[in-house]
């Protein structure tokens, strides 16, 4: 096996995989995409200049792979079909949840669903900042943004999520107490 691959796998595989999984919410797809990340990395590893850390470099490639995937998926055909296909909304709700999540409480599960409602930029920031626990600087490097753009996007993402969560609590009254108690 390739020594570069071994090294990268040991250090970052699960981080990258997890990032991609939360982006596309499908294990098989995330597996394919993480392979695509390796292919791109191994092809251009010679050009890695060490200006940024390996970790953020890897995330920036993963981000490109994910964005390319969304672009490919959303060809004009799909976009038109989606408009006429009224079942797609329902299907999203029934999306298969990985076991890891099924064991968690309802709030977490709902949060997982709410991620869909964010824009791709917002989702990337949320995943990198809270699930991968990167710093603002690292996130900015991974996304190729300025730190202030990371901050504003993060702020908007939280605001959007908060509104979605609050609407749900209000509507269904679920886990209301839990929220209160925690306060």
């Amino acid at each position: 096996m390739n020594s570069v691959f071994d090294d990268l796998y040991a250090k970052y595989h699960h981080d990258v995989y997890q990032f991609l999984f939360y982006m596309v919410k499908n294990k098989e797809l995330a597996e394919d995409l993480v392979q695509e990340v390796y292919i791109r990395v191994l092809k251009s590893y010679g050009r890695f200049e060490g200006k940024s850390s390996e970790k953020t470099w890897l995330f920036s490639i993963a981000r490109n792979v994910a964005i390319d995937h969304f672009r490919k998926q959303k060809g004009w055909k799909q976009r038109i079909l989606e408009k006429f296909d009224f079942t797609t909304q329902d299907i999203k709700d029934d999306e298969l949840m990985p076991e890891e999540l099924a064991l968690r409480n309802e709030n977490t599960q709902f949060m997982y669903k709410c991620l869909d409602q964010c824009t791709i930029d917002q989702r990337m920031v949320i995943i990198l900042r809270y699930i991968q626990e990167l710093t603002i600087t690292e996130t900015a490097e991974s996304l190729g943004w300025t730190e202030s753009k990371v901050k504003t996007t993060q702020h908007r993402a939280l605001k959007a999520l908060k509104k979605l969560m609050e609407d749900r609590i209000e509507k269904e009254g679920l886990s209301d107490e839990e929220v209160r108690v925690e306060r």
Binding site: N2, H14, Y17, E31, T108, Y112, I131, E133, V179, R183
Partner: protein, 402 residues
């Protein structure tokens, strides 16, 4: 209540509680999946240039013999030419002396110089019959004319060269043509060595068809210049002999192979139509060959007009100088062409070849004779401009040894 309120802290906490998701696959499996792509791409980097290089090498190997052969033959012919030029001067004067002795003229010293530009006295020029290049009726005293199309040394045009041979009633025109082929001296004339043809020739007059049987190793199919000159020479030579078709054979079998054309079974000879005659100069020679250009001109006006311009691509030069200004052309086919010159046009001796080119062109347009009006001289070379001038029989007369 209640707009329930969630603090940012709570929200962040909930996000952090999202489960860690792990890829369950073995890293070796993952590498297996990507290895083919990563490594295959690497191979392709040299694969394509490698393939291209080997294809180029193969092509070179195939083409090399032809290229070398062509270079060789070019070299050979240029050597021959240069030696031909050395003798051309002598040859020319020899020719004129030959013509001269017939007439037993006193001007032989003068003609040995061989340059018609130097002729100052019209009378002398007329007496000497010097300078005309075509074959005229006077030349045919119990003789017949054979015209051969011979490629020039650069293989750009074929030049019609006419030789006069004693008439032999026992032989057909075609046999005369075949027999005389051996005594042509193309190289001395500054042209490419082309005759005798490397083929068995026979003629069936009833169907006006020539049968040309080429040997297996014939050189006419090697290189596009060879091919084009072969076809051009065949067509132009045989069109004078009332031939309509040439059937090609190789070693007795139908058809002959030519590199660029593939197998050719027959050459059909088209009527050349109306042609205009241009000058073709050999290097070091001031006497031009008069060469017809195969463009079908509708009117003789158009042909004469074209003859004032060079034809660069075929190496042909303008045959009508600026000094000859035609005012009007009149006459019908089969009769006399009247050439009215513009006032002030003086025909001088150095325009003799131009005048011959005009005569030959008129002949190709089907005229029988030419009458010049408005020339400020009475004679030009051997021609009496006060009378109708009979048109030449054939262009570019050359002597052969018998």
């Amino acid at each position: 209540m209640r707009k329930s309120e969630l603090s940012d802290k709570q929200l962040e906490e909930m996000l952090r509680q999202m489960p860690k998701i792990k890829d369950q696959r073995d890293p070796r499996d993952i590498y297996q999946n990507i290895a083919s792509k990563v490594e295959k791409k690497k191979r392709a980097v040299w694969l394509f240039p490698g393939l291209a290089a080997s294809a180029a090498a193969l092509l070179f190997i195939i083409l090399a013999p032809t290229l070398l052969d062509w270079n060789f033959s070019m070299q050979e012919s240029s050597e021959q030419n240069s030696s031909a030029y050395d003798t051309s001067e002598n040859d020319q004067s020899a020719n004129t002396i030959l013509a001269d002795t017939d007439k037993a003229d006193s001007a032989s010293m003068f003609e040995a110089a061989g340059q018609e530009e130097e002729i100052t006295s019209l009378a002398e020029a007329k007496e000497a019959n010097l300078g005309v290049t075509a074959v005229y009726e006077e030349d045919l005293n119990g003789s017949q004319v054979l015209t051969y199309a011979i490629p020039d040394p650069n293989a750009l045009v074929t030049i019609p060269v006419s030789v006069v041979v004693p008439e032999d009633k026992t032989k057909s025109d075609f046999d005369q043509y075949k027999d005389t082929m051996d005594s042509l001296r193309e190289e001395e004339w500054g042209l490419a060595d082309f005759y005798p043809l490397n083929a068995e020739l026979s003629f069936d007059p009833s169907i006006k068809t020539v049968k040309a049987d080429l040997p297996k190793d014939h050189q006419y199919g090697i290189g596009s210049a060879n091919e084009i000159m072969f076809f051009s020479a065949m067509e132009k030579t045989f069109e004078n002999l009332n031939v309509e078709k040439i059937n090609l054979y190789t070693d007795g079998n139908d058809g002959a192979i030519f590199g660029n054309f593939g197998e050719i079974k027959e050459i059909s000879i088209k009527d050349p139509g109306n042609q205009a005659y241009f000058f073709y100069y050999l290097p070091d020679s001031s006497v031009p060959y008069l060469v017809p250009f195969t463009e079908n001109f509708k009117t003789i006006d158009a042909a004469y007009d074209q003859m004032t311009k060079d034809h660069e691509t075929s190496g042909l030069r303008a045959s009508i100088p600026a000094g000859i200004k035609v005012h009007e052309l009149s006459g019908v086919e089969g009769a006399t062409l009247q050439i009215t010159l513009k006032e002030g046009t003086e025909l001088t001796e150095n325009m003799l070849h131009s005048f011959e080119a005009m005569l030959l062109t008129a002949k190709s347009f089907g005229f029988q004779a030419v009458k010049v009006v408005g020339a400020e001289t009475d004679t030009l070379g051997p021609f009496n401009l006060n009378e109708e001038i009979k048109l030449p029989i054939a262009p570019n007369k050359r002597e052969i040894r018998n």
